[in-house]
């Protein structure tokens, strides 16, 4: 897969970071506004997919992107599991919200829910990115 023309490249250069920031905003405000880990994670994956599509699969270092996305996916899953186990370590149940709730309607509130959102976002984004790389990037799959 070759890259596209200079116009597409220039625009996607500017937009990819903005899309990443928007996805992060959706994840971090998941407990206050619509959105959350699922939506934000997919948006972050979309920002990387935009770069891959516009610059072409030959441009990216495929091996290291696979390694990165697997590391992030495992990290997300591990973080979610640790957050769930925190309640068990504190002497209550699995998935207890033990961190203080904070003031409502503020960004830093709701205990473990924002952290769990971040974990879910990392997991979903990295997982979908590696699925996309496997489906669309060329070298990994076939040598026709």
């Amino acid at each position: 897969m070759k890259g596209m023309s200079v116009i597409v490249k220039t625009i996607s250069r500017i937009l990819a970071g903005f899309i990443f920031l928007y996805g992060s905003y959706i994840i971090l405000h998941g407990h206050l506004t619509p959105g959350g880990g699922f939506a934000g994670g997919v948006i972050i994956a979309a920002s990387f997919i935009l770069l891959v599509l516009s610059f072409g699969a030959a441009e990216i270092k495929e091996k290291s992107s696979y390694t990165f996305s697997s590391i992030f996916e495992s990290l997300g899953g591990l973080m979610f599991l640790i957050l769930a186990l925190l309640g068990l370590f504190a002497g209550t149940f699995f998935f207890t919200n033990i961190i203080s709730k904070g003031a409502p309607l503020k960004l830093l509130s709701a205990g473990i829910i924002p952290l769990a959102n971040i974990a879910i976002g990392m997991k979903v984004g990295a997982g979908l990115l590696s699925i996309f790389l496997a489906l669309a990037a060329s070298h990994y799959i076939m040598k026709e």
């Binding site: 506004t33 959350g36 699922f38 309607l105 699925i131 496997a134």
Partner: protein
Amino acid sequence: MIPFIGCILLIVIGLYGIITKRNLIKIAIGFCMVEYGVNLLFAFIGFKKDALAPIITSPNSPLNFVDPIPQALVLTAIVIGLGTTAVMLSLIIRIYQKYKTLDINEIRKLKG
């Protein structure tokens, strides 16, 4: 009642694609249709007339919300649907590489 019947019709259209079509990608699209129909049916069951989305905007606002539980169930189902679709598509790519066709009758003949 009519929106529910619309969802059922979408599920039946997906079923039609799965059963009668012989192209593998059409079958995958049929599975997606069934998934959309089920998700939409869930969201419609939770709808309440003249109610708001389940998000508290200020501490003293009235709690007249639509049912949040179907939404929470469907939210995970949508992402899982994308994952299963991806597995289906990767299988389709492999089948095409091996048999050079997407027609299931041809594949059945070429098997072995």
